[in-house]
């Protein structure tokens, strides 16, 4: 499973960080960092929740 960020869509609202703070972090400049783009499989449901929480559809999961 790979987390894919489309930074052109990200609006730095931090919903994903709220769901999984060890995987996503918004920086002081508003740029989102995917701290771990290949989280372990057992976290899939949580990652799907983080992706779904994004208001602008900037995140997706591959694989």
């Amino acid at each position: 499973m790979r987390i894919v960020l489309d930074s052109t869509k990200c609006s730095s609202l931090g919903m994903c960080e709220s769901v999984a703070p060890d995987v996503f972090e918004v920086g002081d400049d508003g740029a989102l960092t995917v701290l771990d783009s290949t989280p372990p499989e057992h976290r899939r449901a949580e990652m799907e929740q983080a992706v779904a929480a994004c208001p602008t559809g900037a995140l997706s999961i591959e694989g």
Partner: protein
């Protein structure tokens, strides 16, 4: 064929409800009913990016129709619900009675208007059609008057100033936003207007509109003064859309009253702006994007659980709200209180911490996009004010660049 799961209200909460229903394994018929003719779309951009100069934006729909088809959602758009019969388990649509196995009420709220005649050029800002009208006014270079210095009004004023148009904000209260964000943050946010060149008039009530040939020409104030205007945007809050539930037997009290599982009656769940959650000492109706999303998902899942006879879930997520004004981002998590502490520089970035005794009740940040979710996490785990201080000590707040 089982009775369908019906979701009334095709905005964010309604959409999240149908998505969650499918995620929960519901494979029966799903009907999504919407009063507006549009596919579910995202409202926050309507008062932000949508009003900015540049090419006309597209309707910010969440998902294309094909996606919803694939989810197996029957769309009944442009179809306002007109009544509900809880005993018969039927929703009234355009004279048709639609039977449901479980129902999610997500009809949202409607923008309040001012009493009296509404000449052309006077708008609220709630729907994509409202936003088109407001945008068209700004495109014409209107002299703009905004009634209400809340967040929607402030966003409209920012959009006008970003186009270098003259704008006046009229606010009935002597000090705006105090109820929304507390006594410390309110004046700091209010000060943004002046810095951006917006004329803010506080303690000024609106008596009515001046018009010529059916078009607005000005806003008449209580003191008799008139502010000339070609475009008036009224942002004085929203009222939950519950009129269609009269006589349904659901308890309505500034919103449809529901419990912590969002259940209003057997098989009936509520989500979003229309939901008033009463659960223990919690009695809240929240008009935030995040609440609509989170409650929508919970209501959809619980609606499915109720038909399957499974236990319902409850949730009490920490409220989160944001606004973009004059190029600054405002983010509020948790619950504002009057016991506050200000960190950072007054012209930003700054942070207001809300205390409840020695607990952290909430936090509001101006231009601190990297910080606010860390405070949401603290509020969620019932952290103390000391934990908030430690967070700031370990990573001091950024300063303006």
């Amino acid at each position: 064929m089982p009775d369908p799961l019906v979701v009334v209200g095709a905005s964010l909460a309604g959409l999240r409800a149908v998505e969650a229903a499918r995620r929960a394994g519901f494979d029966g018929p799903l009907v999504l009913v919407g009063a507006e003719p549009h596919l579910p779309y995202d409202r926050p951009p309507l008062s932000k990016a949508w009003l900015a100069a540049g090419p006309a934006p597209e309707v910010p729909t969440y998902r294309p129709r094909a996606d919803l088809d694939e989810l197996g959602v029957e769309l009944r758009l442009g179809t306002p619900a007109s009544g509900l019969d809880v005993d018969a388990r039927e929703v009234l649509l355009d004279g048709e009675r639609l039977r449901y196995g479980a129902l999610v009420v997500a009809t949202g709220a409607a923008a309040r208007t001012l009493p009296g005649e509404q000449p052309d050029g006077v708008h609220v800002l709630r729907t994509v059609d409202d936003a088109r009208d407001v945008r068209a006014g700004l495109e014409r270079g209107a002299r703009t008057v905004v009634v209400g210095a809340g967040f929607i009004g402030s966003e409209v004023a920012s959009a006008a100033r970003a186009r270098e148009l003259p704008v006046t904000v009229v606010e009935a209260a002597p000090a705006p936003l105090v109820r929304a964000v507390g006594p410390t943050a309110a004046p700091l946010l209010t000060a943004l207007h002046g810095r951006a060149g917006t004329d803010l008039r506080c303690g000024a009530g609106v008596a009515g509109f001046e018009q010529h040939g059916g078009r607005v020409t000005g806003v008449r104030l209580d003191d008799g003064g008139v502010l000339p205007a070609d475009l008036v945007v009224v942002g004085v809050g929203a009222a939950p859309c519950t009129g269609w539930l009269d006589g349904s037997g659901l308890a309505v009290d500034d919103g449809v009253v529901c419990d912590g599982a969002l259940r209003a009656a057997p098989g009936v769940f509520v989500a979003g702006d229309v939901a008033r959650v009463r659960d223990g000492d919690r009695d809240l109706r929240v008009e935030h994007w995040t609440s609509a999303a989170e409650q929508g998902a919970l209501a959809g899942a619980n609606a499915v659980a109720s038909t399957a006879g499974e236990p319902l879930r409850t949730a009490s997520p920490v409220p989160y709200f944001w606004s973009d004004v004059y190029g600054s981002r405002v983010q509020l998590v948790g619950r504002p209180t009057d016991d506050t502490e200000l960190l950072g520089a007054e012209d930003g970035p700054w942070l207001v911490l809300y205390r409840d005794g020695d607990r952290l009740a909430g936090a509001l940040g101006l231009d601190l996009p990297g910080r606010i979710m860390k405070f949401r996490a603290l509020v969620a785990r019932g952290a103390g004010i000391d934990d908030a201080h430690e967070l700031v000590r370990a990573a001091p707040l950024p300063v303006a660049s």
